[in-house]
């Protein structure tokens, strides 16, 4: 066997070993993470398959053109407080669709705390509400809006 082949064989062996270690450590890591999140899964009465959550590397807080990409929220003071407290349970879309005064946002937060398992926001509440009323203010619509955003097209029969 040529020296080169022997070397190649050795590299392959090392590689296989490394892969084995890698797969094993990912599995163990995954199981540990899963166990932390779901302590009940080692309950042997359950017959569910063992699950491994594989972390996917994405920049969760990437900001492009002033927009927080993951949530679509505008980059401004208080952004991360909103992201961390308001998008865990529901989409940011329900936040930005709603245009309210500080008073109504505070009432909405109180309602979420009373009925939807929202936690105490502490000092973040003011930061969050300020972010919302500053960046997503209500606009007057009157009793009926003019028709806007019409895409004109030739109607052919």
């Amino acid at each position: 066997m040529a020296r080169e082949d022997v070397f190649r064989e050795q590299v392959k062996k090392v590689y296989r070993l490394l892969m084995l270690i890698l797969v094993f450590s990912v599995l163990t890591g995954g199981v540990l993470v899963y166990f932390t999140v779901n302590p009940g899964f080692l309950d042997f009465n359950q017959t569910t398959a063992e699950l491994v959550e594989v972390p996917v590397e994405v920049d969760e807080d990437l900001i492009e053109n002033g927009i927080h990409v993951r949530t679509g929220l505008v980059e401004a003071d208080g952004l991360m407080e909103v992201v961390n407290n308001c998008t865990a349970c529901h989409s940011a879309k329900i936040v930005t669709q709603n245009r309210m005064s500080a008073e109504r946002w505070n009432a909405t937060i109180k309602w979420m705390q009373e009925t939807q398992n929202l936690w105490d926001l502490g000092g973040n509440q003011e930061i969050i509400v300020n972010y919302l009323v500053t960046n997503y203010p209500p606009s007057a619509k009157g009793r009926r809006m003019v028709l806007t955003d019409i895409e004109w097209y030739e109607l052919k029969d």
Partner: protein
């Protein structure tokens, strides 16, 4: 190959292998666990929706149609709005699905398998109009809280199932019965298993109507998962939230059902009219029952340009909650004059009705075609927004499309 790149590729491929393995065991997945592949999915593919549908919310999924997508007489799945309050359930097995009838006012608590429901009770098919109570919410000023529906949270599909009445009577209804409340298997957004995302219902009088169904088919096929497979309560003409999806239990209550979104301000409007923006106490809010008279111009799509001297064919649908639409009119002069047009009889009670007209324009220019329906009690759609209410329900203002004549 550079060593670092090689390792990176190898790592990635082992990840892929792991993900692949996960999906193979998908059927054994823990409840509430979302596979990675479904965390950022394409809702149009996942729910078989027309790409022109508009996503208002992705957690939970709330998707609406545009007026021109609703042109079919019977709405196909592709253009039906989606309104969810929690997570769409996973791993539903129709073979093991059961429905339990219980509550204070049931004579004997009873559980039926889906097969028993289908074999024991007669099947009925009705076209039923389901409109979200908050359809049109986006127009209220001051803005009302919730998903900002425009016009597309309504549909009229053909539903097949058994009468709720037949099932309730089989279990037995005590004279103390007042209301029914449904319970379903969807999960609360907070992940709290003790919380129900929604559990609404209706008075016994509505529950016992012939058209109130426990449906297992929509448009002749199994109900799509996102619309309630394998069993959905369908109560046409009332806020669509009464038509509970994924229903596995119905309680016959001796009081007004007090499940999630029955109380507080949910699906309620002020018992007495209030000024825009006025605060209303919970006890002064009344549950919405029948939806108000309304109509949609579904053809042509807004923005049509036509040549002078050419008549414009318009068509659409009109509905009136528990009632029938008695008259349909359109205006091309911002409501100054109205022209009556033909409206068909409903296919069955609580189905929407189809109208059509040939509209002529006196000269070139910008026009809006407004549609106005009148119900069998003589009540018409308003041209401006109807009474403001804190949650922005029941906006039945005239639908308008823009037209240019050249």
């Amino acid at each position: 190959m550079k060593r670092r790149e090689f390792v990176k590729k190898a790592t990635l491929s082992s990840f892929t292998a792991l993900i692949g393995a996960e999906l193979v065991f998908g059927s054994k997945m823990l409840e509430g666990y979302k596979p990675l592949a479904l965390q950022d999915p394409d809702p149009f593919k996942m729910f078989n929706k027309n790409p022109e549908m508009v996503v208002l919310n992705d957690k939970p999924w709330n998707i609406e149609a545009q007026a021109h997508l609703l042109d079919d007489k019977i709405t196909p799945n592709s253009c039906m709005f989606i309104r969810n309050n929690g997570f769409v359930p996973e791993g539903i097995d129709p073979n093991s699905w059961t429905l339990t009838i219980d509550g204070e006012s049931v004579v004997r608590e009873k559980t039926y398998t889906l097969a028993e429901l289908k074999s024991k009770f007669q099947h009925h098919t009705y076209q039923l109009t389901l409109e979200c109570g908050g359809n049109g919410r986006s127009e209220f000023d001051p803005p009302a809280k919730g998903n900002q529906w425009t016009v597309g949270a309504v549909h009229c599909a053909s539903w097949t199932g058994v009468r709720l009445k037949d099932v309730l009577e089989d279990a037995g209804i005590k004279s103390s019965a007042v209301y029914i409340g449904y319970h379903a298997v969807d999960k609360h957004l907070s992940g709290d298993p003790k919380k129900e995302p929604i559990s609404r219902g209706c008075p016994m009088s509505k529950a016992l109507q012939d058209e109130t169904l426990l449906a297992f088919q929509m448009n002749g096929k199994d109900i799509p998962l996102v619309h309630g497979h394998p069993l959905r309560l369908v109560a046409g003409g009332w806020p669509a939230s009464v038509s509970g999806k994924w229903v596995d239990r119905i309680s016959i209550r001796n009081k007004v059902h007090d499940g999630t979104k029955m109380t507080g301000t949910a699906y309620r409007v002020p018992c007495e009219p209030v000024a825009p923006g006025e605060k209303v106490k919970d006890e002064d809010m009344c549950i919405i029952e029948s939806m108000p008279v309304k109509s949609l111009i579904t053809y042509p799509k807004t923005g049509a340009m036509i040549n002078k001297g050419k008549a414009l064919k318009i068509r659409g649908h009109a509905w009136a909650g528990e009632l029938e639409v008695a008259k349909m009119e359109y205006s091309i002069d911002f409501g100054s004059t109205w022209t009556e047009c033909s409206v068909e009889k409903p296919a069955n009670r609580l189905a929407w009705q189809h109208f059509s007209a040939n509209v002529e324009f006196p000269k070139s220019g910008y026009y809006e075609v407004w549609a106005r329906a009148t119900d069998s009690n003589g009540i018409s759609q308003p041209m401006l927004l109807p009474g403001w209410n804190p949650k922005g329900y029941l906006n039945n203002a005239c639908h308008r499309i823009a037209v240019k004549v050249k």
